[in-house]
């Protein structure tokens, strides 16, 4: 528990296998942003048998809808949104090759099963620490669905983005066993 690890995106199986729920992670590399509306469109493409706007294999999706950037800023404030709204879409994306997600809050049983099935990982970032997290985002490019505004898919490059392994590849869930350690019955 609570080992600090430096991790590179896109993710490799051998790196995922080293992660245990509760580990602190500093994430580096290129990741993608998507939330509700973008997920709906991605799933529609998969259902229609069409290609996704980016190669999803081994990638990480960060659930975020940033504030508009001021002139000179790479991105506005950019903390995680509640992940469970993406739960209906997530198993499908994991089965298509997605390896990691960053968000906040617990996930459904179906998502945890899909994480185990696909040897992937779910990271928690601190909700509302949105200026702090934005400082780790060094480059940004909108790559799809510009019409969705804050919900457009952005390719971002992060350096030392702080997060925590919330659900690891074995399905161990910090939202379950974290509170169990501290509850007073």
């Amino acid at each position: 528990m609570t080992e600090e690890r430096i991790l590179q995106a896109p993710l490799k199986n051998k790196d995922i296998e080293k992660l245990t729920c509760g580990d602190k992670v500093m994430l580096n590399g290129t990741i993608y942003t998507a939330r509700d509306a973008a997920h709906k469109r991605l799933i529609q493409l998969l259902e229609d048998g069409k290609p996704l706007p980016f190669d999803i294999k081994d990638q990480i999706i960060y659930y975020v809808g940033p504030t508009p950037e001021k002139p000179g800023e790479v991105i506005g404030s950019a903390g995680p949104t509640t992940s469970n709204r993406m739960d209906p879409y997530t198993p499908r994306l994991l089965d298509a090759g997605l390896k990691g997600m960053i968000g906040k809050g617990q996930r459904s049983k179906e998502v945890i099963e899909a994480i185990v099935r696909n040897k992937s990982v779910y990271f928690a970032a601190t909700g509302g620490a949105s200026v702090l997290l934005a400082k780790s985002i060094k480059k940004l490019k909108i790559i799809a669905y510009e019409d969705l505004g804050t919900e457009a898919i952005r390719e971002i490059y992060v350096e030392n983005f702080p997060c925590i392994v919330a659900i690891d590849f074995k399905g161990r869930d910090l939202y379950e066993n974290g509170p169990e350690n501290y509850q007073i019955l």
């Binding site: 609570t2 509760g22 602190k24 509306a37 975020v64 809808g65 940033p66 504030t67 508009p68 950037e69 001021k70 800023e73 506005g76 404030s77 950019a78 903390g79 949104t81 509640t82 469970n84 906040k104 809050g105 617990q106 928690a124 601190t126 909700g127 509302g128 620490a129 949105s130 200026v131 702090l132 934005a134 400082k135 505004g149 804050t150 702080p162 925590i164 919330a166 910090l174 939202y175 066993n177 974290g178 509170p179 169990e180 350690n181 501290y182 509850q183 007073i184 019955l185």
Partner: protein
């Protein structure tokens, strides 16, 4: 009768919308600081420290503390001896929200209809406006920015009078328990009790406006608030739901008379980015 220009209302709502999202109030940062010192969970402690660092960075860099700059919920106490001239009251407020959210680079998070197109209105209007008419010739305006993460974890229940105080307490604790990490703990728990269905929901939101360093003026509710805060923090949910001692910073209750056959209870959860600012015209 005192004349107040509608444009004055617009200016104040614009200013408060922006300030709200940058400056976290001291009563909130004080509570988080106090909790960070007592937090046993290393992850929980780190999260609370990140929240405090973030609050400082938001001010230093003049940026919104959270990317969910919320839907604007506006409480107005309108003195009955005020006449608003040169404009329409609700339009003046919405114009303030429009300008604040645009000029302040705040996120526009309102959709035109809830189900069909869900098309963004692109200026964060319309605001939700609650107006109470009070004696006097002043207008008190409180702008809050309510994020959806915590709002989505809120609930109302029509209890039976026989459920009594234990039923009320259990419903509140259970609501927090089922919410886990989703409302961005540490949270503030706003509770409305009594009234009727819609009044109770309103009370639960209004209860959140009380400064965190104050006590409930009713001694009975003050005791209940303290007991509930202890029970909630014993759940172990902790900062962001990852385990710890700090799940809530405060429980705040507002109660009012109700029907002989009713016992409505509403719980409105508020994330740690507890944003509300007030001005008086």
């Amino acid at each position: 009768m005192r004349e107040v220009n509608a444009s004055e209302i617009t200016d104040i709502v614009q200013r408060l919308s922006i300030e709200n999202n940058i400056y976290l109030d001291k009563d909130v940062t004080d509570k988080i600081t106090e909790s960070a010192k007592k937090e046993d969970s290393p992850i929980g402690k780190q999260i609370l420290e990140q929240i405090l660092t973030n609050a400082k960075l938001a001010i230093e860099e003049n940026r919104p503390m959270c990317q969910d700059t919320g839907i604007a919920v506006i409480f107005v106490e309108l003195g009955q001896d005020v006449h608003i001239s040169k404009g329409i009251f609700h339009e003046a407020i919405n114009e303030g929200v429009r300008r604040g959210y645009t000029q302040g680079y705040l996120r526009k998070s309102v959709v035109e209809d809830p189900v069909f197109d869900r098309k963004n209105t692109k200026d964060n209007t319309p605001a939700i406006i609650h107006t109470e008419v009070i004696p006097g010739d002043k207008i008190k305006i409180t702008v809050t920015s309510k994020g959806a993460g915590s709002e989505n974890m809120s609930e109302i229940k029509m209890l039976k009078p026989a459920d009594g105080i234990d039923g009320v307490k259990d419903f509140i604790v259970d609501r927090v328990k089922r919410s886990g990490g989703m409302p961005c703990p540490p949270i503030i728990v706003g509770v409305g009790i009594g009234g009727n269905f819609e009044q109770c929901a309103y009370l639960s939101k209004k209860a959140l406006l009380r400064p965190l360093n104050t006590r409930n003026p009713d001694r009975r509710w003050d005791t209940v608030e303290k007991e509930l805060l202890t029970r909630i923090n014993q759940l172990g949910i902790g900062p962001m739901g990852l385990g710890g001692r700090t799940t809530a910073l405060a429980v705040q209750i507002l109660a009012m008379p109700c029907h002989i056959a009713s016992l409505p209870v509403a719980v409105n959860l508020q994330c740690h980015a507890h944003r509300h600012k007030t001005a008086i015209i």
